[in-house]
């Protein structure tokens, strides 16, 4: 069963998530435009990878221990009506392109693993109308449909998609809000 959410449902869960974020000293912020709420987090990411033996991969070697700034936005997609992540990554204030993003988030340089990056695409931010990268939302509804018991679907979504795809990790302390008294 595929699920969808209304903007009102999203707004309520986003506020609940922000409360939790504050309690565990995470840095999520709220942005709002005409009753449309979205969540923002800026994250400094130090890219540290073991040097590769593969001398062909010059690009990857150059990226060793560099600092990236990643801007994550979590919002309800206006057509698919599921939460998704929009993000941009900057190196020295310059936007980095999709190829570098693959290198940044991929655990190894196994070409087959790149397949999952077909899930990422360039897309205009539907609230700010600026270019962003987006996790393509077409399967998210189906995946979240398997977790209908969850207390907060935004957290479920972030746990499922954040760490594995776009380097967005949630603090383990969020767990404590899910343990029943």
């Amino acid at each position: 069963m595929s699920v969808t959410f209304t903007q009102e449902q999203f707004n309520v869960k986003a506020l609940e998530f922000l409360e939790m974020s504050e309690k565990v000293h995470d840095t999520w912020q709220k942005e709002e435009k005409e009753n449309t709420l979205f969540l923002v987090k800026n994250y400094k990411f130090t890219f540290k990878k073991e040097p590769l033996n593969d001398a062909d991969d010059i690009c990857a070697i150059q990226m060793l221990s560099e600092v990236f700034l990643i801007e994550y936005h979590v919002l309800l997609h206006p057509s698919y009506k599921v939460p998704t992540i929009y993000f941009n990554a900057y190196k020295n204030d310059k936007l980095i392109d999709l190829n570098d993003i693959k290198l940044l988030f991929c655990d190894d340089y196994d070409k087959e693993k790149y397949e999952i990056y077909n899930l990422l695409s360039q897309s205009e931010h539907p609230i700010l109308f600026r270019p962003f990268f987006m996790i393509h939302p077409c399967k998210i509804g189906e995946v979240l449909g398997k977790f209908t018991e969850t207390r907060n679907f935004i957290i479920t979504f972030l746990t499922l998609y954040g760490p594995s795809l776009v380097g967005l990790k949630l603090n383990n302390e969020y767990e404590k809000f899910f343990i029943k008294d």
């Binding site: 206006p78 936007l95 393509h136």
Partner: protein, 259 residues
Amino acid sequence: MANDREVLKVVWEGKIPAKFVIDSNDNDEVYYLNLPRISYFALCTDKVKKHFQRHIEKEDDIWFSYMDVPLKFHIPIGVIYDLLVSDNSLPWQINVHFNKFPEDILFKFPNKDVIESHFLSCLKEADFLKHKGQVICQLQKKDHKQLFLGLQNDKFDQFWAVNRRLMETTEQENGFKNLPLRCYTDDGYSYLQKLITPLTEKGQKKTLKDLLVEFSTPAKKPVGAKTHGIEVPLETELQWLSETLSYPDNFLHLCLIYE
């Protein structure tokens, strides 16, 4: 649908004569192109680049602007013209730039594959709204390719042979589930997007007039809408509008007119 073939053809053949000038004081070279309204600037950069090649000092990304506003690569050309050129002057004078690419405003389209994948992602989103994505899933990879090639090479029959299936509705449905549409406000490129059904709760066909009500706010009330350079009559049915006047990305792009 069959009777509307002529309308589809006229929409497909809409052109805007454009005059490209290079953004520098000591150069008065110009280049003229007849731009298809339904196409994208991303698909004509090669021609323009080739023409101005000898003026490029260093290889950087090409981009265009009109009256200091960068022209978006991923929005159909006709939509940009209707949004930005208020006096309808022709030829459309476009500035060509080879440096200071405004990456906070424009997407980079380094090659045709990236444009194609963006185009397909729009079709996918539109079909999700119309048929829960079920029709686009049934199409094969070669059909997807045919849609893009039809657009890129300006082949009406090639495009519509496949697009016809994306525009179909069954008799029981009596229209799409939701209509893929974007309503541009009079604030630059910003637009509104909502779930809009083709029928009212009582099962009557909605018209453009009903749509304008749905996009009204206490502060701003649209009184009309423009697409493909024409003002659409208020009594036009939305389902017909979607089937006939959508751009190749399967979205209706309506520029709202305010009082």
